[in-house]
Subunit: 300 residues, 2 copies
């Protein structure tokens, strides 16, 4: 029987999986190291577990990546702050070795697709999936399809209002200083407070500030993309106290302008954790691998 | 022969049109007054010019509006700051009197669709159309279709970074104070500088600040919607000196993060004025009226 493979290539770890859906999934994770060694470990997993039965592979990668099949650098990770990975041909490295069709997508677009297919967005046509971890990224599904446009969404790099009197931390993004990622990613929290986020108790003032920035970004997403649901995942969001704080701030920022119950009494079902837990990304990659097999003539 | 009608219901003026495309268009404009009198004048125009030959009508309206056909308030203008228009059933008022199928869309989504069909976005699949005038609004086309989602984009209300030391104006938006519309709409310019924008010379410092805010919003749109083109129209954009200032600021804000020529050497073709001049909105309304006739079973 043919098997589908998926890789979530994240900034912190690689998650490799084989399967067809959340109930039929075998995964293997390892910390992200350099590109050559990370790819070697992924190939090893697929060769050991699937061998010649591997029919197609989906890759859900951190970005920015080149998704334009007409481009000379299609399949590359491009201007990432992670210098070892800059201009690395991820699709090329994997497809050469595994000799199967490869689908390429951002980690967060793949996660948004998986949540739409199997997770917490099955009942709506559009959603945004935001991961808050080593970096901040956002995937966008509109009418059931991932949005690419000119490049692909890079939601972590939007600039949010930053009051230097209240928060003198100048931000950790090497491209933009105090963009959302520069103010609210895991490394930003570590640098601002001197402790990694997982060591900060739920009552620490770090979380109220974090919720303020994430809610600022979510309000912007409501005004630009108007999604039916917003999903927040990633390591930093393991602090569950963030959810009610974020929801409260979003309602306050909108100030009743968008007269929809989702932004008032139903906000608990509007801003939610992933339905697929830590496997949204790798399941999205597997979903794309399956679609590639089903629709070989329309791989875009 | 059947005729298609379109209305751009704007905050400043109503533009009524009959025709099929930019080369076949008869328009009549009048200043927006209260809803009853504005609707009366529009009906008069269509009865005089088309009579029983009017086959369908498109309405491109300022917002927020209710586009959900399953809603009890479908066809209404909802939480607009223009109190006389709040909770007004615009579609109902026009369809009752004219007795033709009516298509409803935001003014800016309609303009974005018209620019995609006949204007400056014919060569790409997605665009954002922003109007800067009495208010600020943005329409979004993804893969050839207008984005609605939960409501519809309300790009004027995104919050941009606002340095009160450099710009102590607190903003004019009655919902959010210093959101983009509160800082950069025509009324915001008039209040901040004591003169209406059309009376400010191209060398006035108002324009550098205006370009800064609009570029801040455009950078956010690149990171969220990733459009292939951004079109800037509306009364304030008649100050043509704004375009090079905005482009320069966008390149600076992005800081090379999105490695695409559109955001570097080709930015003059990325951020552009409308190809259809002041008629993008009414032409979008006519486009929708024509589609309604062609696809009566799929009006959404």
């Amino acid at each position: 029987m043919a098997l589908f493979g998926g890789i979530e290539a994240g900034g912190t770890k690689f998650v490799c999986g084989i399967g067809t859906c959340p109930d039929d999934l075998e995964v293997h994770s390892f910390p992200t190291v350099g590109p050559v060694e990370s790819v070697r470990q992924a190939i090893q997993f697929f060769q050991d577990k699937a061998g010649s039965r591997l029919a197609a592979l989906g890759i859900a990668s951190f970005g920015p990546i080149d998704l334009d099949r007409t481009s000379a650098t299609y399949g590359y990770i491009t201007t990432t702050p992670k210098t070892a990975w800059r201009n690395f041909n991820l699709v090329g490295a994997l497809s050469t070795e595994l000799a199967v069709p490869v689908m390429f997508e951002t980690d967060v677009n793949a996660a948004a697709l998986a949540e739409a297919e199997w997770g917490v967005s099955r009942d709506v046509e559009d959603n945004v999936y935001i991961t808050v971890g080593t970096g901040i990224g956002g995937g966008v599904v509109v009418k059931g399809e991932a949005v690419h446009g000119l490049l692909h969404p890079e939601i972590g790099h939007i600039r949010v209002a930053h009051d230097l009197d209240k928060d003198p931390f100048i931000g950790s993004c090497q491209f933009h200083g105090d963009c959302l990622e520069g103010l609210a990613s895991g490394p930003a929290l570590s640098q601002r407070w001197g402790h990694p986020p997982e060591s900060l108790p739920a009552t620490h003032p770090a979380w109220e500030l974090e919720a303020h920035y994430l809610a600022s970004a979510i309000a912007i997403l409501v005004y630009t993309l108007s999604p039916h649901r917003i999903i927040l995942g990633g390591g930093v969001m393991q602090q569950e106290a963030l959810f009610p704080m974020i929801r409260r701030n979003v309602v306050r920022f909108m100030n009743g302008y968008i007269a929809k119950p989702q932004l008032r009494e139903e906000i608990d079902r509007y801003i939610v954790p992933p339905g697929l837990g830590r496997y949204s990304g790798v399941l999205g990659a597997i979903l794309l691998a399956g679609r590639c097999r089903q629709r070989p003539a329309a791989q875009d």
